[in-house]
Every structure is written in structure tokens, then in C-alpha cells.
Subunit: 334 residues, 2 copies
Amino acid sequence: MQRISGSLWRWWSGLLLCLTLSAVAQADSVLPSWRDRTARTAIIAFVQATTTQGSPDFVPPAERIAVFDNDGTLWSEQPLYFQGAFAFDRIKAMAPDHPEWASKELFASVLKGDYKTALAGGEKALGQIILTTHAGMTSDQFNAIVADWLRTAKHPRFKRPYNELVYQPMLEVLGYLRANGYKTFIVSGGGAEFMRVFAEQTYGVPPEQVIGSTIKTHFELRDGKAVIVRDPDIDSIDDGPGKPVGIARYIGRAPIIAFGNSDGDLQMLQYTTQSSSKKRLGVIIHHTDADREFAYDRKSINGKLDKALDLAQSSGWIVVDMKNDWSRIYPFEQ
Amino acid sequence: MQRISGSLWRWWSGLLLCLTLSAVAQADSVLPSWRDRTARTAIIAFVQATTTQGSPDFVPPAERIAVFDNDGTLWSEQPLYFQGAFAFDRIKAMAPDHPEWASKELFASVLKGDYKTALAGGEKALGQIILTTHAGMTSDQFNAIVADWLRTAKHPRFKRPYNELVYQPMLEVLGYLRANGYKTFIVSGGGAEFMRVFAEQTYGVPPEQVIGSTIKTHFELRDGKAVIVRDPDIDSIDDGPGKPVGIARYIGRAPIIAFGNSDGDLQMLQYTTQSSSKKRLGVIIHHTDADREFAYDRKSINGKLDKALDLAQSSGWIVVDMKNDWSRIYPFEQ
């Protein structure tokens, strides 16, 4: 073997030192809004185990699929699902063209701001509100309506645009996973086209990686222009057992990682962690911080977390305690 | 400015020369199985126009979506759609467990190899064959059945596995577009889960970028294992006007490029090229080579190309003449 000259040796040791320091710095800078507790450690350990060549849990890049619920997992969902707030605001905006609504109890309640009475009609009432506000226009027109609402509407408690109420620690998870070759998908009970308006800019998730509930549409040539028209009819509900069905339909394979926060995510968590014997990661975001966000679980109307919480331990899912695990909730906090 | 030493200068000029030669070689080596005619020139010019910064037709990378029909566009579709051949082979494989089929005309015809009589029952007969062979098992089981068929079945004329009958010039288009930042999707009337078994290895298209017809499925825990079960019920038909609807549902925005070969691709071509005033690319593969492949268009049962061919010129779509535009059809040709 050729003798290594002194200067080359010094250069070599210097390089090694730099690489070591940079690895340490990198590990420290990962997920900075997560406190150094069990949840953060488990997420990092899982990502390292699945992305290190030669690891028994190594996952080839093409199979690195991570799925995220949206409402309550990536952004807040209280006091009302944000898409519900959008629908009520739309009813108000559309009311001048619909004088007949004044005498219809459902719409009259919404116009008075009495959402509780409006929603007392259950799924049927909600469906009517959704279809009235989400159908009857082209996809491009709908996108423009949602974009305009996001620019102008404010959350009642935080007085900020709704898409600022995203969780900083989850933005960090999304970025960390993508930096490690994971493809990140949203799998939400919310409307796919509603989320697609902001998901790319807000989460870095492109429209084709947003799976959600859909209404029926049809294709039309209007004055020579090709358009997609939104019809007042439900196509699919991407919630509960509908989530693994949606994942199979859109992605075509089981995810490696799933993040959720409610019983609506139960079957997605099961599909992710219980469809193979390999090491998988399931995470539940538990809303425990009434001061900085909201505290709710088993009794909540929005984002009820009951059965999935009972099954978390036996299923090996990590339960994130927002109050203690997250040093920061929203990006706008200092 | 510091004087450039002779050796550095020679190194620098050598590098420039290499880069120039490599650019020329690259342009020459693009789409090598395409003869240097109008179609090849137009495809290359379009890709350069949409990917060159500062070009009036520049498309940001996130919006570079290219969609491809499968049957007749990426692989052959004669004398029978290959998925039809799969279904008939499955009927034969399943027959020993179904003695009652001997007395049912539809199945008896298939078992005799009399596909013409079997398909005389039209869509209803075809639907019964498809649902009998494509439902009643888990997704994983279905994938294994298709993979096994691809390993063992042979095309009646070419005596090769069906997934060798892919078009070399189209493999080159897929690779060329991906090298230029395009995301390539399959949008086919064929079954999504059928195509996903081979699309990644054959075309480099991952399952989550394969859109096709689907049957209904449901989620189940079987002995503690999470599975997706395929139900005997059509979910969506991704053909004709169903293609832009599928694109809107799965991708969430209109493509920049579309390749098709039949009237089933008409609305996808219109949605791609007529939903905005910007420069878009629509291409029709015209089957004109009876010697090397098959020649058919307006009168064919599979891949009928009639109305879309009439509209090609006024719509600005490129019509590829397989016989004259392609120097090679299949990868196995020398």
C-alpha cells in the first residue's frame, strides 16, 4: 500500500471530522419544534431504520409512501371543520341570489349564524349544505372560489387565515420524510378539490398526492373550451374504512407511515401497520393543549378520538401529546 | 484578471468541446427509434419549448403532467385487449372449481375458446367475465394472479409474454419526458390494479401514477391482518368522457401532454389541449403497420379510431404513422 503523505492524511481526517460534525448537526436540526421525547425519537429512529441500506427494515425508495390525515393532523379542526366554515360563508355569499332561502329552515339558520340548529339535521343537512356550495360550477371556478375564501376569511379565535393554522411540527415531519425519499400524501375526509387549492403551497403536497372525498363531475365542451363540471352528487367519502379503500384506489399499495388524529383514521392506521409483518409507523396526534390550540378527544363532534386511542397501545401506534411533545404549534408563534 | 495558464486553458477548452459534443450527441440520441420526421421533430420542439426557462411556453416543473393511454398506445391491443386474454385464461384456470359453467352458454363458449360467441353478449357478457375473474379475492391475491399470468401466458401471434409487446418508441418518449421533469401517468380504460402489476417495471410508471377503470373494494381485518377485498361491482370506467373525469379526480389538473390512439382518448386529448389557451401537445398513435404490428382504425372493435382521427387536424394533434414514423416497434426487434 502506498504511504499516505502527511498533508493528504490531514485533509482526510479533516474531511471525516466535517462529515461527523455535519451528521450530528443534522440530527439535532431535524424536527426542531418537537421536544426531545419518545415521539420524536421514535419517528427519527423509524426513518433511519427504513432508509439505511442494509438495515433489516430498509424500504426501497419507490415504496416509501407516507399518508397524513388533514383536519386535526396537519391543521386545526375546531370550533368547526374549516371546510364547514367555508360552506357556511358560501351560503352567506350566495344568499342574495337565493331569496327563497329565507323561508327554508336549514338555510335560514346558517344565514343567522346558528350553525348548531343547521347541523341538528345531521348528515342530510350537512350534505345539502355541501352540495349547494360545492357543485354547479366548473372545477376552475370552484378553485377560484376557495382561493378567494382563503385570502379573505379569518379563523374566529386566532383571527388569521385558516391556512396559517397548520402545525409547524407536522410541516417539519413532511419535509423530513421527503428529504428521506418518502412521497407524502394527504388522505382526508375533506374534499380533495378543496384541499388541492392550498396543499401544494401550504404543505408542499402536489394535487396528485391529495386524496379526499369527492363529488361526481362530468366533462363538457363549453364554447369550444374543455371543462370539468361539478355535479350535486356524492362520489366517495374518504373517511373511516373509506380511507384504506381510497389509498388502494389512488396509490395502489399500503403506506409505510400513517399520521392521523381521530377514529376516522383508525382503518388507515390499521391498513398501514397491519397489512404486512414488516416494521411500519402509525402515529396519532392527541389534542391536549387548550391554551395554545384545543383540547378534545372522546367526546368531540369534530375529530372524535376514542376507539383508535383505545387501540393505540396494543397496535404499537405512537400517541403524540401536543402539549408536551410540541414546543411550537403554529408557524406564526415565536 | 489573473492570466489563465496554458494547461488550465487547454483543460477549459476541452471541457467546452466535450459539453458541446455531448449536447449534440444528446439531441441525436433522443427518441432513437423515431425516424427523423414531423412527429419526432414536433415532440422534441414541444418539450424544449415547455422546459426552457424564458420560453413563452415554459411550464413550471410541478405542472409538467403527461398522460398516456395504455392499450394501443403503450402496448398492443390485438387480436384481443390483453386484459381480455387474461380474463379468458382465468375462466379456464377457474373452471375445474365450477362444473356448473359447462351448462352456461357464456362460460361454455369461453372454455371452448369461442370468444366471438362469448362476446356477442356485448357489455353485459364482458362485465360478467370481468367481475367473475377480477373480484372475490384480496388485492394482494389479485396482484399475484396477474403476475403469474404475465410470467406464463404468451401472445398468440408473437409467442412472447404480453408485457414484451410494448412499443420501444413510446418507452423512449416516457424516459425523455421524465428526463425533462415531466411526471408520466397512465390513463387507461383497462383495470388500474391489472396495469399496476407491471407498469413500474415495464414503463417506469409507479402504481400511484396509474389511473384506470376500477371495481369496488372494501377494507377488512382478516385474522388480524388488514386487507382490501375486491367486490363484484363496477366503480368507475376510465374511458371516453371518463378519462378527463378520472384525470380531474386523481391528478387534479389538466395535463400538458396526452398520447392516445382511439376514440376512447378523444375527450382526454380535448381536455389536455383545449382547457387552456396555452401551447399543449396531443398525439394520436395510428396503427398502420400490418407487417410489424397490426393495421386498423375506423372499423376495429378494439381501439376504434374514427372521430378522433377526423378531429386531429383541426385540433392540432400530431398523428403518428407507426409504419413510417417508427424504425422499431418492439424492444425485442433488432
